[in-house]
């Protein structure tokens, strides 16, 4: 088991390094003159009053941005700073990025974790229940709801929820953010709609998957052996079926987290939550490369880390993986 974990961790690290390179290249290989794009962010401010530059000013700007060095060198400079915890400085907002991240990341993490817990736990429980009571009215209804739930655009659902519950019913605020560590109950009113919007899709997908995995396991021969031994249904479900059924479900958790992260990016825009998703979205619009790089790196890191945890969980659940 330990060798398995070590192998997986090293693989994850290597992937992370490759991701940093990919992000770096992606941002640099885009068409257009980066200086012009940079200047475009300042149109309208005193600095960029006229966006006509002399070639000398252009070159000076390139040197200032560090863009005249060869790409590998740029990469190396950036990555060595990152390792030391310095994510660089945003040229558009003119602030150190690490500070920005320190503010926004906890917010996104908070709602992200809640969305994940509700989405996966809720979905798994619903899925197990539907599989055990297959064919009943409740199973058919829940499965249909899950099928529909997978088709709903997250941001649209957010808008509709705002319309019904905030505007019409006035139960919750329409947008904004209050941190749970400032005022917990008030914070709940702010996060309940965003979390609901994203969790629904997660619950739907997980429920469908869990249901089909459970059904598959229920038809296996070793389950028949368990019945032949005279065990009770509850024991058979928990000891014999669940562990096997959860194997493919757990491997899907990584993908679900990715879906939730993506969804939360949209939701932060809809609900004006000042989280990392909104920071990144804004940065994309502003062509703020440094922030885009940093946030993408962090998102990538989160996904890789969670995939690593999923792999380890998989190894723990399925002994066939451990011993090969």
């Amino acid at each position: 088991m330990t060798t398995y974990i070590i192998r997986r961790t090293l693989l994850g690290l290597m992937t992370l390094i490759l991701v940093t390179m990919m992000v770096f290249l992606l941002v640099r290989l885009l068409p257009g003159d980066p200086v012009m794009r940079y200047m475009a962010a300042f149109v309208g401010t005193s600095t960029g009053q006229n966006n006509i530059m002399t070639p000398e000013q252009h070159d000076a700007m390139m040197t200032k941005l560090g863009l005249d060095k060869p790409i590998p060198t740029q990469y190396w400079e950036w990555i060595s700073k990152v390792i030391r915890g310095d994510l660089g400085e945003s040229l558009v907002i003119q602030q150190p990025i690490s500070g920005l991240i320190k503010d926004v990341l906890p917010r996104t993490a908070y709602i992200g974790v809640l969305m994940f817990i509700f989405g996966t736990l809720g979905g798994i429980l619903v899925g197990i229940y539907c599989a055990l009571r297959r064919g009943t009215w409740l199973d058919n209804t829940l499965t249909t709801i899950a099928n529909i739930g997978m088709t709903i655009p997250v941001f649209w659902l957010g808008l509709m929820l705002i319309y019904v519950f905030s505007y019409k019913l006035g139960w919750f605020p329409m947008f904004g953010w209050v941190a749970p560590w400032d005022n917990f109950w008030k914070s709940c009113t702010y996060v309940i709609l965003p979390i609901a919007s994203v969790s629904l899709g997660g619950i739907a997908g997980m429920a469908r998957l869990t249901r089909s995995c459970m059904l598959e396991v229920m038809g296996k021969e070793y389950v028949r052996t368990a019945w032949a031994k005279g065990l009770r249904e509850r024991v058979i479900v928990v000891r014999h079926q669940l562990k096997n059924a959860m194997i493919p479900v757990v491997t899907a958790l990584g993908g679900t987290l990715g879906m939730i992260l993506g969804g939360s990016v949209f939701i932060e825009t809809v609900f004006s939550i000042p989280g990392m998703g909104r920071l990144m979205t804004q940065a994309i619009f502003d062509y703020d490369y440094q922030i885009v790089q940093a946030t993408t790196l962090i998102f990538g890191g989160i996904v890789i880390f969670s995939n690593l945890l999923v792999d380890i969980a998989w190894g723990w659940l399925d002994p066939r993986i451990r011993y090969s």
């Binding site: 021969e221 052996t225 032949a228 000891r239 066939r320």
Partner: protein, 328 residues
């Protein structure tokens, strides 16, 4: 003395093609301490019959359509399939060994766990005692290095070893009857012989009855004392093993025996004659004898009257046939 009296059980399946009468009036008895064989080709309903006795048929699409199973004075089929009464009997008084050791053991549980759960459940043992007994059982079925291997997982065992574990599981609570559904079909011939010898030895020592379900005549010839031959969902011949093999009276049994070689026969001494045709479709069977289209001994009566009831043609020897052939 009769331990288990299966009377006329019927199990039907509702499929998209129609109603399949997999077992259509099957009766047999299991006496104390004996080994009996339930033989027939694939699809004749033998597995379905024993699964029906233990109420392990998934319903839907299966349905228990009739009959009685008398055990310890009660009719088991009156109980609900997964009710406390059936559960108390399954795994402790009547147990089962399945065909595929690869898929019949749970891949994510240790062998220890799969052995101890019946011990803890039926014999009320605590964890320590159950583990000791489980190791003992493994040794009894011939698994080497039992005290270490008990913590392994099924995929770390070979097919033959896995089947030994299944046998150990079946024996764990000292059952009165063991049903073995094609126990050796999935393993190679050498292992087959070892497993059968092991099973015979154990049931003799423990005074347990064994019902071997198989399509392999060689297996039953050597090990079973009494044999039931099945065809198309019914028993068509039953009797003592030697009698059936030396003096078969039903045309199907005769056909079967004519189509297999026997040890000791010289080359060219006898031609192997197959039974022509194929087994019938179990949907919408005609009321007449199901073997009729393939029978070489048929008489006029066979096409007009319904499938014959079992009648005696000797001591403990019954056939379901209108014809009297004086066999070999």
């Amino acid at each position: 003395m009769v331990l288990l009296d299966v009377q006329n059980i019927k199990t039907y399946f509702h499929t998209e093609y129609g109603l399949v009468k997999a077992a259509d009036g099957v009766s047999f008895q299991v006496n104390r301490g004996e080994i009996i064989g339930l033989v027939g080709e694939s699809g004749c309903g033998k597995s379905v019959s024993i699964l029906s006795v233990m109420q392990l048929i998934t319903s839907p699409p299966g349905e228990k359509a009739g009959g009685k199973v008398i055990f310890e004075g009660k009719d088991l089929l009156q109980y609900t399939a997964n009710g406390p009464e059936m559960r108390a009997i399954r795994g402790s008084k009547i147990t089962m060994i399945f065909q595929e050791p690869m898929t019949s053991l749970n891949p994510v549980l240790t062998i220890a766990r799969q052995l101890t759960e019946t011990l803890e459940l039926h014999l009320d043992m605590d964890k320590g005692a159950a583990r000791e007994r489980a190791i003992e059982l493994l040794k009894m079925v011939g698994v080497p290095d039992a005290s270490r291997r008990i913590d392994d997982y099924p995929h770390q065992f070979s097919g033959g070893m896995r089947q030994r574990v299944m046998i150990a599981m079946a024996l764990s609570c000292n059952p009165m009857i063991i049903f073995a559904d094609e126990p050796t079909t999935a393993v190679d011939v050498t292992t087959q012989a070892q497993l059968l010898e092991l099973m015979k030895d154990l049931v003799t020592r423990l005074d347990t009855s064994l019902v071997i379900v198989t399509h392999n005549l060689g297996v039953v010839a050597r090990y079973a004392e009494r044999i039931y031959v099945m065809y198309a969902g019914r028993i068509i011949e039953s009797g003592l093993s030697e009698v059936i093999f030396n003096h078969p009276r039903h045309p199907y049994t005769v056909g079967l025996l004519n189509s297999v070689p026997k040890l000791g026969e010289k080359h060219g001494e006898r031609k192997l004659i197959p039974i022509y045709g194929i087994p019938p479709n179990l949907i919408n069977m005609p009321p007449t004898c199901a073997f009729l289209p393939r029978c070489t001994e048929k008489i006029g009566r066979c096409a007009k009257e319904p499938w014959p009831e079992l009648r005696s043609v000797g001591k403990d020897h019954y056939i379901s046939c209108y014809v009297d052939i004086k066999g070999k």
